[in-house]
Symmetry: D3
Subunit: 132 residues, 6 copies
C-alpha cells in the first residue's frame, strides 16, 4: 500500500455543551494541525500515488470554510458536537467527495483509503480513517 | 475507524543483560515519550471515541509505577528483559485492563484496539498494537 | 548562561477586531503550545538553574486562568487585542511575578531572564523575552 | 503486532520530467528523512522485535548508495520517475532483501511487514508498506 | 524583545565543488525547511510585532525564486558556494530588503533583527541572524 | 552571527541524591537528545561557519563516553549532581576543548560561541551557552 500525506491547519472556536466536557463546555478554541493521507494500492504511470500538489490544494479547499470560524455557527456542522473526532470525520467526508469528483487528478479513482489526523496540541490528537 | 492518541513520558533506568545488547548490557536509561492510541469503530452520543481527558488520566496512572524507576527492580517486570518492545507490551496490558475495568468512561467497552508507541530518541521508536 | 524550558498548552477562543486581521476579526480560536524558558547565570548547589518540576507547576498555574477560555471575556485581558505576542507578554508578566514571589523555589532570585514562546501552528510562533 | 522504527536521511538531486510535475520537472532536490519500520507478530527470547542497532545499520547501508546522489544518474533507478513514492518502494525492496538475507539478525525471518516513510518537508510525506 | 517566526520550505539541487565537502561535491540536493523570525522591541497599536500573514507572504515571495531550482544555475547565487549558511544569509538579505521596502506592513520600520534558520534534516540546521 | 547545529543523543542512568529531586533521587534514567550549536561571526572561504560533518563527528566523540552509562559511576562526573544543566555544561566544556584543539577543522578558531541543548522529554529541555 502506498500513501501520500499532506499537512495544513485551521484555527477555530467552539463550545462543547455536554457535561462530559467539563471546562470545555464554554466557548474556547483550538488549532487543529491537519494531516490528510491518501492511500493507493499501486502507482500511476508517473510514479504517483497522489500528486502532493493536488492533495495540498484540495486539503486547503476543504479546510477553508472551517478556518477562522466559530464552529457553533457553521451551518454544515449544525447540531453536531464538534469534538476532534467529529471534525476529523467531517473533513474526511469532504475529502472523500473531492476524490469522487476527481479533484485529486486523473488517478483519483485509485484512492482506496483516506485518513484524517487532527493534532490538537503537542500531547493529543485524533483521527478517522476508512476505505472508500 | 476512529482513534484518540495522548502523550506522556517516563524516565527510567535499566540494564539489558544479554550479549545482543552490546554496550546496553550495563545499567543505563531512557526517556520513553509514550503515545497511547485508543481505537473505536464509532462515536458515542457526545461525539467521542474516547474522552481525551480520561485517556490522559489513565495513561498517567499506568505510567506512574514505572516513572523514575530502575526497571531492574520493578517487581511487575521481574524476569523480563525490558526492551522498548517489552515495555510497550507491558503498558498495553495495563491500558487494556483499564479499558476492561471501565476506567476510560462509560464508552470504554467500545474500544476495540490499543496502540502503545514508545519514542526512545529522535531516531528510534517501538510500538505494540492489538485488538481487544 | 543556563536555561531550563518547559512546555504546556492552552486552548482558547478570541476575536481580533481590527481591520488588519482580515478573517481573524471574527470569533475563532487557537491552541497555543507554550514554552517557558528560565535563564540563570550559574547553578545552585543542587546543580539546578531552575527545578523543572517547579517550572512546570508554575507554568501550569499561570496558564490555568486562560485555558478553555474565550479571551474576549477574560477580565485581566480587558481592552487588549489578544494577539500571540500580547498573550506571550501577558504570560511573561505572570511568570515574572511568580519569580518575584519566590514560587520557583529558593533560587528564584537567580533567574535573570524569561522567554515565553507560543506555537500557534506547525508553521507560526511568536515569543517575548526580557531580562528581569 | 510489534514494530520497531528507525530514522535516517538522504540528500538527493533529481528531475521529474513529466508535465504533471510542473516546476519540479527541472533539476531540483530533496532531503528525505527516512523512517523504516519492521513489524513482527511476537518477540524473540531477548525481548526484541528487531534489534534497533541492526535496523539502524541496515537502513544506513540501504540509503548509502542514494545519499548525495543525483538520482537521474543512479543506475538502479534507471528509467524510473523518482517520486517520493517510487523511492519509498525502492528502499522497501532493498530492506526486504536485507531481511531475506538475514542481515537484521537471527530473528530476521520473523519480520512480517515493512513500512518505509519519506518525509520530504514539514508538510508532506509519502510511504510504502507491505507484508513480506 | 518580541518575535514572530513563520515557516516554509524549498527543495533545491546544488553541488559543493570544494574538497572539504567530500561526497557533497557532486550534484545532490536538499529540502530546506525555512524559519524566518522578525524581532521588534515593542508592539504596534494592533498588538503586533509583525503580522504573521504578511510575514508568511513575504517569506514565500523570497523563497519562490529558489524553490525547485538547481542553485548552480541561479544567477543571483553565481560564484557562491551554496552551503546552508550561505543560503541562510542570502534569504536574510532578501528579507531585509523586503523590510526596508515596507513589504511587511506599516510597522516594517520597527523590525530590528531577523533570523533565518534552515533545517536541512532532522539532525542538522544552520542559521544567520543580524540586527538591521 | 552564523550558527550550525547538529543533533545526537545519549541514553543514561543516574540518581539525583538531594531532597529537592523528590522521586528522582533514586536510580532512574533519561534519553538526552543533544543539540550542539557552533556560532561564528563570518564564513570561511568555503562558505562554512563549521563543517556539519566535522561537527557531527566531534559531538559523537564527546557523547560516546556518556552513552549507555550510569553517570553515578562516570569518573569525570565524580561528585557532581548530574542534572540536565550540569550535563549540558559538561558537554559544552568537552566541545570547547575540541574547538581549542582544532578538531572542528581549520576554521575552529573562528568559533566564538557554543550552545548545548539537552531535550529530556517532549516537554522539558535545558541548555548552556557561552562565548569562547
Amino acid at each position: 500500500m502506498f500513501a501520500v500525506e499532506v499537512r495544513d491547519h485551521i484555527m477555530i472556536a467552539h463550545s462543547l455543551p455536554r457535561p462530559v466536557f467539563g471546562p470545555a463546555q464554554a466557548m474556547h478554541g483550538a488549532t487543529f494541525v491537519t494531516d490528510a493521507a491518501f492511500f493507493t494500492r499501486d502507482l500511476d504511470e508517473d510514479g504517483l500515488a497522489v500528486d502532493i500538489g493536488a492533495a495540498t490544494t484540495v486539503l486547503g479547499e476543504v479546510l477553508k470554510p472551517l478556518n477562522y470560524q466559530n464552529l457553533d455557527e457553521v451551518e454544515a456542522l449544525n447540531g453536531k458536537v464538534t469534538t476532534t473526532e467529529v471534525i476529523a470525520k467531517f473533513i474526511f467526508d469532504r475529502l472523500a467527495e473531492a476524490v469522487a469528483d476527481g479533484r485529486l487528478g486523473p488517478g483519483s479513482h485509485r484512492i482506496c483509503k483516506i485518513r484524517v489526523t487532527l493534532h490538537e496540541s503537542h500531547a493529543a490528537r485524533g483521527w478517522y480513517e476508512a476505505e472508500l
